[in-house]
């Protein structure tokens, strides 16, 4: 995986955890486990990206 994909991952993370989505979710206040599901999904995304990485 190239640094640019790493950058893309962070952008996704920022959109997920630092965008207006956060206050919207906080306002809606869905089930308590929602933040954990979003977190787990992001971890899965990192894992998939990392598993395709072939470092020298």
């Amino acid at each position: 995986m190239s640094p640019s994909i790493g950058l893309l991952l962070v952008v996704v993370g920022v959109l997920l955890f630092l965008s207006p989505i956060v206050p919207w979710v906080a306002t809606v206040a869905p089930a308590w486990w929602w933040p954990f599901v979003a977190w787990a999904a992001f971890i899965v995304l990192i894992a998939v990206a990392m598993s395709s990485r072939r470092d020298p």
Binding site: M1, S2, P3, I5, G6, L7, L9, V10, V12, G13, V14, F17, L18, V22, P23, V25, A26, T27, A29, A31, W32, W33, P35, F36, W39, A40, F42, I43, V44, I46, A47, M50, R53, D55, P56
Partner: protein, 976 residues
């Protein structure tokens, strides 16, 4: 339910002893030690991030700030998602340059004597609240279980025990590379214990309090405000600031930097840690809301920080309580051990050693021992300071508050780190200004309010109120003020100052894809012993010897090497190794002071190119665009040079070999690796002597040199060219070595064939020449019986003998010609030109035309240096060629004159001359202008080859008076 203090203390000591046992076993056992390189173990060891703040303080933070507590872990997840462009480059730098702490990293990049001490001091100050937090958490957790006031004696004993274990874990001996496999395995075990403890108490709490997940759902339905209380604080602000703090803390906290980079044994493990560590944090945090609600549902009266312990007490389970206590102890002890180890190294290298070096000009006669004791002292001092801070701040209720102050402190390194990785223009002035402003902002926005609220400094300035920013949450205000001022001054300071040469080099080395340019000079030291003696003046004799030997071992160099390139590499390796031990600033200072460079003998262009190529190969950087195309072109040219069938050797002006291609490797049997870097005279015999003599000689070429090599005798052509690239400065030489052994063999065979052909031709002439004297002998013999007069008989006998001598002379000439061998050049002898030409004419006449006249001039007294039979063949071939071209009754002119040390001999016929179209091909083998079957096309090439063997030249031209003319230049010898 309460537990006795003695039990808790005993359990704690047994647990720490178990940890030490694990670390000890991992260091002693190869199998256990190998676990440290395992990606899962490495990932778990990063769990040192989860301290007692996570273990206990999360619940208190959750109670007051709801889901804001998640930011502390989501920020870390973001940082680990940035592994490819953030964590991996730092790991690369740390490994390549042996940088063992954040102070090392910044001191390496922002070269200033202030950088390291400032970073170390601020880190120390910034992390003390965090250490105090751990002591506080352990003491308070014991108080919860013993139902007593926080036992100060326990806090003190805990601190002392941790200091002892920190010394045992990481300062038992000096490990120059700072890889403690035992520490990694033990911390990974601690992380596992924390996780198991949290999951166990949460699981048991879930079933014991709620009766299972369904019960929890039912409870939440009855208490919808519980979920709302988690979400609503997110809307009150602080989410972004806390995320940024956690993002920075993920790799800038001393313990995180230490485990992530310094203790990393297997760089590939970072890939797995990029998602494995966030997963660990997720598993650790998922039960927190459940635990908190369980505490609420069970109506626990304790401080919410300790709901986990309270739940165990509520369940009346001493085992569970002990497990939770051990989990909390595990979290606190891991943090304290790793943090103090990292800070002790940093403090020793940047606060103690430079001061000592300034005072005494020498580090110590026993450097390693002093380093070890220095670190131990710092470990004890740091924990003592942490304990002192704990004593001061007992009134502070929130564990998270103390932790966040440390997070905010390390966040001040973020601008400098971004500059380090991405901005080569950043300077030390900008870094120091920015960090200074950040420290002030941090102190006045976070520390003074804490001291004021705690009553320690009641009149402390309240900056937030003073600036009218009370509407912001404290963390957003502190972060905006400190980080904003820091980043602004960092950029302005960098733009308004100029980086020095060292900074430019360091900046290039730090940016992704860049490499260090070669050192500007070669070491003045002539050998390894001299380097050792020089270093010994500061390091002490034994450490200097040890460090030099370690560097030699790392590079696989022999101790006796005198190659300047080897010594240069050795110097760099010593600096890197010392950097791991003393930090990059001291290492550079010591190496610059003692292993000085010869500025005049700076690396040649060839050497620089070779090093850049080596770095490119090692780094295997994914080049793109123009860089990729240029690299492809470079590889193509390199490949051509490497695969050239000619041997190519390039050297520096000082005679150090910088290139040695495949053909030369095959020819000499000397591998490229062993040749490159050697002084040319040190190459294996006979090559060293030969190439050095050739370099020093004024000759640009040497032809057909006979050389005895390990693969037998070879015949070589050598060519030399000097490389003058920059401002007329000689950069080195290129030597081409052509192996012409096979061609010489072929030429010899061709010459032999030509000689045989000549003998064949001569045989007919010989038969004719012998026939006449034989006929005369026969006639005389017939008249002999008829003579009575003794005088007549004697005259006839004399005539017969005369004829016999004539026959003998002819036969001897032929035999001598047929049996001629080429002697080596060393056995060349003087040959009288006059006699040689006369002999050649006689032999040519034997086989050739009798109507041709020969006119010789200017040969008297000239004496050639060479092999007579070979030179004879040259003249026979040239005369035969002239004779065949001559019209009937013509004369062949043979003239000679001396020109310096050489003889110029012209052979001119009266034939039609040579056509312009064929004049360039006359000396090609098998090229003939004669009709098929009448010429072999070998005579002139053979003559040409022999003349070259004699160091002469042969040219063909058309004479101005008509006819062809061959000009022979041959070296003159002595007198016959």
């Amino acid at each position: 339910m309460t537990l006795s203090l003695g039990l808790l203390y005993t359990a704690g000591v047994i647990y720490l002893a178990l940890l030490f046992g694990i670390a000890f076993a991992a260091e002693r056992s190869r199998i256990l030690g190998g676990l440290a390189a395992n990606a899962w173990v490495y990932t778990l060891s990063l769990g040192v991030y989860a301290t007692s703040w996570t273990f206990y303080g999360n619940l208190g933070f959750l109670e007051t700030h709801g889901y804001l507590y998640l930011t502390i872990y989501l920020g870390v997840t973001l940082a680990f998602a940035a592994t490819p462009w953030l964590l991996r480059p730092i790991l690369r730098l740390a490994r390549e340059h042996q940088l063992t702490s954040l102070a090392d990293l910044f001191a390496f990049r922002y070269r200033s004597r202030l950088t390291g001490p400032l970073v170390a001091l601020f880190m120390l100050a910034g992390v003390l609240p965090y250490i105090a937090l751990q002591i506080k958490a352990v003491a308070e957790s014991a108080a919860v279980l013993t139902a007593d006031t926080p036992p100060h004696l326990l806090a003190l004993t805990f601190s002392a025990t941790i200091a002892l274990f920190a010394v045992l874990f990481g300062a038992r001996h000096i490990s120059p590379r700072e890889k403690h496999s035992g520490l990694v395995v033990a911390i990974a075990f601690e992380s596992l214990v924390k996780l198991v403890a949290v999951l166990t108490i949460a699981g048991i709490g879930l079933f014991a309090v709620f009766g299972g997940p369904a019960g929890l759902d039912a409870w939440l339905e009855r208490h919808p405000e519980a979920v709302t209380a988690l979400y609503s604080p997110v809307l009150e602000g602080g989410w972004f600031s806390l995320m940024v703090l956690a993002f920075a803390a993920a790799f800038l906290l001393p313990r995180q930097f230490h485990m992530l980079f310094t203790e990393n044994i297997n760089p590939r493990a970072l890939n797995q840690a990029a998602w494995g560590f966030p997963l660990f944090l997720l598993l650790l945090n998922l039960p927190m809301p459940v635990l908190y609600w369980a505490g609420q549902a069970a109506d626990l009266t304790q401080n919410s920080n300790y709901f986990a312990l309270g739940l165990a007490s509520w369940l009346e389970s001493p085992t569970l309580a002990l497990l939770v206590f051990i989990g909390g102890l595990s979290a606190a002890s891991a943090m304290m051990i790793v943090t103090t180890l990292a800070l002790a190294n940093m403090s020793m290298n940047y606060l103690t050693l430079p001061a000592r070096l300034r005072e005494r000009r020498t580090l110590s006669a026993n450097l390693y021992r002093n380093l070890l004791w220095g670190r131990r002292m710092w470990i004890v001092l740091i924990i003592a300071l942490g304990y002192g801070f704990y004593g001061l701040l007992q009134v502070v209720q929130g564990l998270a508050q103390l932790g966040l102050i440390s997070f905010a402190a390390v966040t001040q390194f973020l601008p400098g780190l971004v500059g380090l990785l991405l901005w080569p223009r950043a300077t030390r002035v900008g870094f120091l200004l920015g960090l200074g402003a950040g420290i002030l902002g941090w102190f006045f926005s976070l520390v003074t309010p804490l001291l004021g609220n705690a009553g320690i400094w009641p009149s402390a300035p309240q900056l937030q109120q003073t600036l009218g920013a009370a509407g912001f949450d404290a963390w957003t205000f502190a972060l905006t003020l400190s980080l904003g001022a820091n980043a602004l001054l960092f950029v302005l300071g960098s733009l308004l100052s100029r980086p020095n040469q060292e900074e430019v080099e360091a900046g290039q080395a730090c940016c992704p894809g860049a490499s260090l340019s070669p050192t500007a000079g070669l070491p003045l030291a002539r050998d390894v012993s001299e380097m050792e003696a020089e270093l010994g003046a500061t390091l002490g004799t034994m450490p200097a010897r040890h460090e030099v030997q370690r560097a030699l071992d790392d590079l696989g160099l022999p101790r006796h090497t005198r190659s300047r390139r080897d010594l240069q590499r050795l110097r760099e390796r010593i600096e890197r190794n010392l950097s791991g031990l003393l930090g990059p600033v001291l290492a550079r200072m010591i190496v610059d002071q003692h292993l000085r460079l010869d500025a005049a003998g700076r690396s040649s262009l060839g050497e620089s190119l070779r090093r850049i190529e080596q770095q490119l190969e090692e780094a295997r950087l994914p080049l793109t665009g123009l860089a990729a195309e240029l690299d492809a072109l470079r590889r193509f040219h390199r490949q051509i040079l490497h695969e050239l069938p000619l041997g190519v050797c390039s050297t520096t002006a000082g005679g150090e070999v910088t290139g040695w291609n495949h053909a030369l490797r095959v020819l000499t049997g000397i591998s490229t690796d062993s040749a490159v870097g050697q002084l040319i005279e040190r190459l294996e015999r006979p090559w060293g002597g030969l190439l050095l003599a050739f370099l020093e000689s004024g000759d640009r070429q040497i032809y057909k040199l006979n050389l005895d090599t390990r693969y037998g005798p070879r015949r070589l052509n050598l060519h030399k060219s000097s490389l003058e690239v920059v401002a007329g400065r000689r950069e080195g030489y290129v030597i081409l070595i052509e192996d012409v052994t096979a061609r010489a063999q072929l030429e010899s065979e061709v010459a032999h064939g030509d000689r045989l052909a000549s003998i064949g031709r001569f045989a007919a002439g010989v038969a004719h020449e012998i026939g006449n004297p034989l006929a005369g002998i026969a006639s005389l013999a017939q008249t002999l019986p008829l003579e009575d007069d003794p005088k007549e008989i004697r005259d006839i006998a004399d005539d017969i003998i005369g004829q016999t001598h004539r026959i003998n002379a002819i036969v001897q000439s032929l035999i001598a010609f047929a049996h001629s061998e080429t002697p080596p050049r060393s056995r060349f002898e003087p040959v009288a030109l006059n006699d040689l030409v006369a002999e050649a004419i006689r032999l040519t006449r034997l086989a050739g035309r009798k109507d041709i006249g020969y006119d010789t001039s200017g040969m008297e007294g000239l004496c050639l240096q060479g092999a007579r039979p070979k030179l004879l063949q040259v003249f026979i071939n040239l005369l035969t060629n002239a004779e065949q071209a001559s019209p009937p009754g013509a004369t062949i002119h043979i003239g000679a004159q001396q020109t310096g040390t050489r003889a110029r001999i012209e052979i001119r016929d009266q034939g039609p001359g040579i056509q312009e179209a064929t004049i360039d091909r006359l000396f090609e083998p098998f090229f003939t202008t004669k009709p098929a079957g009448q010429g072999t096309g070998l005579g002139l090439p053979v003559a040409y080859s022999i003349v070259q063997d004699h160091g002469g030249s042969l040219m063909a031209t058309n004479a101005s008076e008509g006819g062809a003319q061959f000009i022979l230049i041959l070296p003159l010898g002595g007198h016959t």
